[in-house]
């Protein structure tokens, strides 16, 4: 009886993990711009990996005693994923990638840098550098 419950939990975790990882990857093809595509891998795929690891944790803990390493891997995956997503978003803003036209809000980071002055107006001669 207990075996059935544990096996059911392992199976559920593996299926949930696979489904989440798949949906996260589907988001990569399905969503329209870079910023939206960022949502798939940062959340869904991380949870997919987490679920798979917890399934494996339950399975191997029953086979040969409690195993904690996989829990540590899960925790570190959940700590690092948001940081990498943040860095990716930051570099996308730095490159001024165009967001989807439906996107509301207009952050200053995405405004195009207009040249400060034209060549004729530029400081000439011995005036200090701009």
């Amino acid at each position: 009886m207990l075996d059935t419950i544990i096996e059911g939990a392992v199976a559920f975790m593996l299926i949930a993990g696979g489904a989440f990882a798949f949906i996260g990857s589907l988001g990569m093809t399905h969503l329209k711009d870079f910023y939206m595509r960022l949502h798939g891998p940062s959340k869904t795929t991380t949870l997919g990996v987490g679920c798979t690891l917890i399934g494996s944790l339950i399975y191997f803990s029953r086979e040969d005693g409690p195993i904690i390493q996989e829990l540590l891997i899960t925790i570190s995956a959940f700590i690092t994923a948001p940081v990498s997503a943040h860095m990716l978003a930051k570099s996308a803003l730095h490159h001024k990638l165009k967001p989807d036209p439906r996107t509301r809000g207009n952050p200053v980071e995405l405004e195009s840098d207009k040249p400060r002055h034209t060549i004729e107006e530029a400081p000439q001669g011995d005036s200090p550098l701009p």
Partner: protein, 165 residues
């Protein structure tokens, strides 16, 4: 909290390193304690210059509650995002939202930014430390004002109580 000393500049980090080492080795043999102890003292001493001043955790129990709440939110967040991705009509209302920060210390802000990324439909995109705002990209949002209020009530206020109150 344990007060920092010259050889233990970050006592909590040292303790954490020792515990993680023992868990990774899955053994409490004397050799592992010694090796882990040496690493737990050496690593903080070597990398102390790179660290910010560490804020003190004033309410550890509340921090635990916060982590449990975030864990629950991660699951609901994923179901929401999965629904949005699988929705064939693709009716999304993406938006950039500027979130005004009331937290002042860097470490709680880091936790807040990570939490925002892991929870429903939002990714923290850029932290402007000069203007004290956090730029958030949301996948599907109807009312930006409500989103800001929700983040403030649900995540920022508990963090303020834990670290700064």
């Amino acid at each position: 909290m344990i007060p920092p000393t010259r050889w233990l500049p970050m006592p909590v980090l040292s303790l954490l390193l020792l515990v993680v080492w023992l868990l990774l080795q899955q053994s409490v043999a004397l050799g592992q304690w010694l090796l882990g102890g040496v690493l737990a003292i050496l690593i903080p001493v070597v990398c102390r210059p790179f660290w910010e001043r560490q804020p003190t955790i004033k309410r550890p129990l509340k921090l635990l509650g916060y982590f449990l709440r975030v864990l629950g939110d991660i699951v609901t967040a994923n179901i929401q995002v999965s629904k949005l991705i699988l929705d064939p009509r693709g009716q999304m209302r993406p938006a950039f939202v500027e979130y005004p920060l009331t937290l002042r210390e860097n470490f709680p802000i880091t936790i807040l930014a990570s939490t925002i990324t892991m929870t429903p439909g939002t990714v923290s995109a850029h932290l402007r430390l000069d203007g004290r705002t956090l730029l958030i990209h949301a996948l599907d949002v109807a009312d930006t004002r409500a989103l800001i209020d929700e983040i403030h009530q649900r995540y920022e206020r508990p963090l303020m109580e834990i670290f700064e109150s």
